[in-house]
């Protein structure tokens, strides 16, 4: 298939970027989106040009490294997959495809389509952990956990921290990420003792990073490659409000 790509090119963090038109010829429809970019890059290199820079790692949909906003949708038009798992058969011969970085003030562009998502690492460092040794995996049913809570915690734990929620949100809010990372621990007995300090610290770090805040558009859950529900945002809101009250009166 032959495609016309409109790709964001930006030489560095402080450079002014712009869209560049690149023709992608003879792309096999079984190629993944990133393999398509590999093919395009090889041709650019052969012609002596600068290849398009983009993030990728596992290419199995589990590491959260790949990004790209494709035709205005983070991770592209397929549901529940990352860009590396998106295949060219989702497009038609002759299509024009717009490829942009995940845009947010807190995700500065490093170069072309590569953005710096270390703001997420700092949010995790602020409270997305359990600070005591919880030991190795406990015996099954040794520690009773309500089935519903175990399921919800597991669903939240599927977050791979890719940042698509931020990229899709009209306000560049990371609350699906923060909610998922907090819920994953807060719902389990090992995470409960630090629930209050965790949500206070993570939300304060989130605000300090310059992200926007959730105004309930639910774009995040629509693009999340792990299909995490915005219910985790509701839980984070509730837990933050309760923790603030406790902090104020305790």
């Amino acid at each position: 298939m032959n495609l016309t790509l409109k790709i964001w090119r930006q030489e560095g963090p402080d450079a002014k970027g712009q869209m560049q038109t690149v023709e992608a010829r003879d792309i096999p429809e079984e190629a993944s989106f990133l393999e398509m970019l590999d093919i395009v890059n090889e041709r650019i290199i052969e012609e002596g040009g600068d290849p398009v820079q983009f993030d990728h790692d596992c290419r199995e949909g589990i590491c959260g490294t790949c990004s790209l906003t494709i035709n205005g949708v983070p991770h592209g038009p397929d549901n529940g997959v990352t860009t590396c798992q998106l295949h060219m058969r989702k497009f038609r011969d002759g299509d024009t495809i717009w490829i942009e970085p995940f845009r947010a003030k807190a995700f500065p562009v490093v170069r072309d389509l590569v953005v710096d998502r270390s703001a997420f690492d700092r949010i995790i460092a602020a409270g997305g952990y359990i600070s005591v040794r919880t030991g190795s995996a406990p015996d099954a049913n040794g520690l009773p956990i309500e089935k519903d809570h175990a399921d919800q915690s597991f669903d939240a734990a599927t977050c791979i921290g890719c940042g698509a929620c931020v990229a899709a949100c009209p306000n560049a809010s990371p609350m699906l990420f923060v909610g998922a990372k907090a819920s994953h621990l807060n719902l389990l007995p090992q995470g409960k003792p630090e629930l209050d300090i965790r949500v206070l610290a993570m939300v304060r770090q989130m605000d300090a990073e310059g992200f926007g805040n959730c105004t309930n558009h639910y774009e995040c859950e629509g693009v999340c490659p792990k299909e995490i529900s915005a219910d985790v945002i509701a839980r984070l809101n509730r837990e933050y409000a309760c923790a603030s009250v406790k902090e104020g009166v305790a």
Binding site: N71, R103, V203, D207, F211, G212, T215, N216, N237, A241
Partner: protein, 233 residues
């Protein structure tokens, strides 16, 4: 600064804290709308019922009731607006560079225009207060109840809505209020952490029905008056 004051300041300055303030003040304003609508619908009962109700409100708690209500509503209104404007500004700043192409997958038109529907409602409320509360139109202010010596609230409403451009402005503003409520009421539940797998469907339906009832109830009055279904006499 005491630890309590410090926590309140920190809560207000946080994104979730401001949203909780928006949700809590929203509950007061949404509840007020239901009460206001119930009172307004008395125009369908007649002049005596409407004017009795107006008199009751004015004399509630020896006249203090209405001022307490006004103070609470004004406080909520100001907090709601200040918090949403501040949140909107930080949200705009969070995406300094816009996408060349952006495709929406879940959001609604009502959600996208919240700040604009809200600011239009602010302008409408100012007009509405000048129209029916301050009564800058002397013709409406001087109307007297023909049976009892008191202001004729019923006559004021009928005369006020017989002015077609004014009625049309009310209908447009109330339509934007309906849009605002359809997103806002559901958002209250999400912000206060009450939305879950079990409740999300019911919250969406409740939000739409509430917005529709408020919209139909309020716009029915100027429409009925313009169509001559509710008379001055």
């Amino acid at each position: 600064m005491s630890p309590l004051v410090s926590t309140i300041c920190q809560f207000w300055s946080s994104s979730i804290g401001k949203k909780v303030v928006v949700a809590l003040t929203g509950i007061v304003l949404v509840g007020f709308l239901a009460g206001h609508l119930a009172g307004n619908l008395l125009v369908y009962v007649g002049r005596e019922a409407t004017n009795d109700y107006a008199e009751f409100l004015m004399h509630l708690l020896h006249g203090a009731g209405i001022w307490i209500a006004r103070a609470v509503l004004l406080t909520c209104f100001v907090l709601h607006i200040v918090a949403t404007i501040q949140l909107t500004r930080s949200n705009r700043a969070a995406r300094a560079d816009a996408y060349e192409v952006k495709t929406s997958v879940r959001t609604t038109l009502s959600a996208r225009v919240m700040i604009w529907s809200g600011l239009t409602i602010l302008a409408f409320v100012i007009f509405h207060l000048l129209h029916f509360t301050v009564r800058i139109d002397q013709g409406l202010a001087d109307l007297r109840d023909p049976l009892v010596d008191r202001h004729d609230t019923y006559g004021m409403v009928v005369r006020g809505f017989q002015n077609v451009p004014v009625s049309l402005f009310y209908i447009v503003a109330l339509t934007l209020l309906c849009s605002h409520l359809s997103h806002g009421v559901a958002s209250i539940f999400q912000t206060l952490g009450l939305r879950s797998k079990k409740t999300r469907g019911a919250i969406k339906v409740f939000s739409w029905i509430y917005a529709a009832i408020i919209w139909l109830g309020f716009i029915s009055i100027p429409i009925s008056i313009m169509l001559g279904l509710v008379h001055f006499d």
